[in-house]
């Protein structure tokens, strides 16, 4: 894949779990990465393990964590759009799709990574996925960038089959782990359980990034 990569997710850490290896490989290959993060994850219920923050301080922590994670992944263009966690699905979808379209026209990505609609579990993920797909759907197929959708609902493999694209994180796993660790308020407990080998299947998921193409009409 040559050309810019555009990553669109609603919460700081969505990108690290699903796509850090892919992002790092892109930028190491000399392609710029733009990341639009819609919210600051203000309503997350993890306050650190052990607890080190509060509901009121969490947005500030997560903003700093996001900036640190982006530095690790080599993301040159981080855009925080200032929506509020849990409320993305209540925004005007057409308006959000139009903003994504303007973004795509500006960044001119070769590839867009976001969630896959219908299989993204969290309502903010679903709303983001719908608006991204809507923006891409409206583009002429000849100029539409490749779309890689992240799907992790339990129904995913039964209904969508095996992932269409699997990117082996490989040598970049240490950097991916560092990016995850940067999102400390959310990830410390999980990373500890992986280190204690309690979560072998999560480790496997983190090492092979799975994506689906969307059947645009």
């Amino acid at each position: 894949m040559t050309g810019p990569l555009l990553v669109i997710f609603p919460h700081p850490d969505d990108e690290a779990y699903s796509s850090a290896g892919t992002i790092i490989q892109h930028q190491k290959n000399g392609h710029p990465v733009t990341y639009v993060c819609l919210t600051l994850g203000e309503m997350g219920r993890n306050m650190g393990s052990p607890i080190f923050t509060t509901r009121e301080e969490l947005p500030k922590n997560r903003k700093h964590e996001l900036e640190a994670a982006c530095a690790v992944m080599g993301i040159s263009d981080l855009q925080m759009w200032g929506l509020r966690d849990k409320t993305v699905e209540f925004e005007d979808e057409a308006e959000l799709a139009a903003r994504f379209r303007a973004l795509i026209d500006n960044v001119k990505p070769a590839r867009v990574i976001s969630f896959y609609p219908g299989y993204a579990v969290h309502p903010d993920h679903e709303a983001t996925a719908r608006a991204v797909v809507r923006a891409l759907q409206e583009m002429d197929a000849t100029v539409r960038p490749e779309f890689l959708g992240v799907a992790f609902d339990h129904r995913t493999e039964t209904e969508l089959g095996k992932p269409h694209v699997i990117i082996e994180v490989g040598d970049e796993y240490a950097a991916k782990r560092e990016a995850l660790l940067a999102h400390r308020s959310q990830t410390e407990a999980l990373l500890r359980s992986i280190d204690n080998a309690e979560n072998a299947h999560v480790m496997e998921l983190l090492q092979r990034e799975r994506f689906y193409h969307y059947p645009f009409s």
């Binding site: 919210t39 309503m43 500030k60 849990k86």
Partner: protein, 123 residues
């Protein structure tokens, strides 16, 4: 945050009787509760920066604690509170589960609580 000291909370509640306060009230099981356990019925709510005024405000229980505020036209009630922070006139009450995850919250402040990324930027 610190473990709730009921006398500190009660003193705050007494001091702010009949004072307009911006409230943040929330309960949550996290967004993945049903994903992780299909039998679990996920429920949650938050309301942020609604202005309330109460005639009686009390904290009850032996930990976790309950707070009830008697409003002009109703009640505000939160149960499961375990921890607190006090910053001048801003009171943060939170209930954390055994894994340290937030389960409920009640914040009171005479000034509006911050909203969105722009204000985070400015702080």
């Amino acid at each position: 945050m610190n473990t709730i000291q009921p006398e500190v909370i009660q003193a705050y509640l007494d001091k702010h009787v009949a004072t307009p306060l911006y409230a943040h009230v929330e309960t949550t099981n996290g967004a993945y509760a049903t994903h992780n356990d299909p039998d679990f019925h996920n429920a949650g709510m938050f309301i942020r920066n609604v202005v309330i005024e109460y005639s009686i405000g009390q904290i009850k229980g032996h930990g976790p604690y309950r707070v009830g505020l008697k409003l002009d036209h109703g009640w505000l009630y939160v149960e499961g509170l375990t921890d607190f922070e006090l910053h001048g006139d801003q009171l943060l009450l939170a209930g954390h589960d055994r894994l340290g995850r937030l389960a409920c919250a009640l914040h009171l402040d005479p000034k509006p609580l911050p909203q969105g990324a722009t204000e985070v930027e400015d702080q």
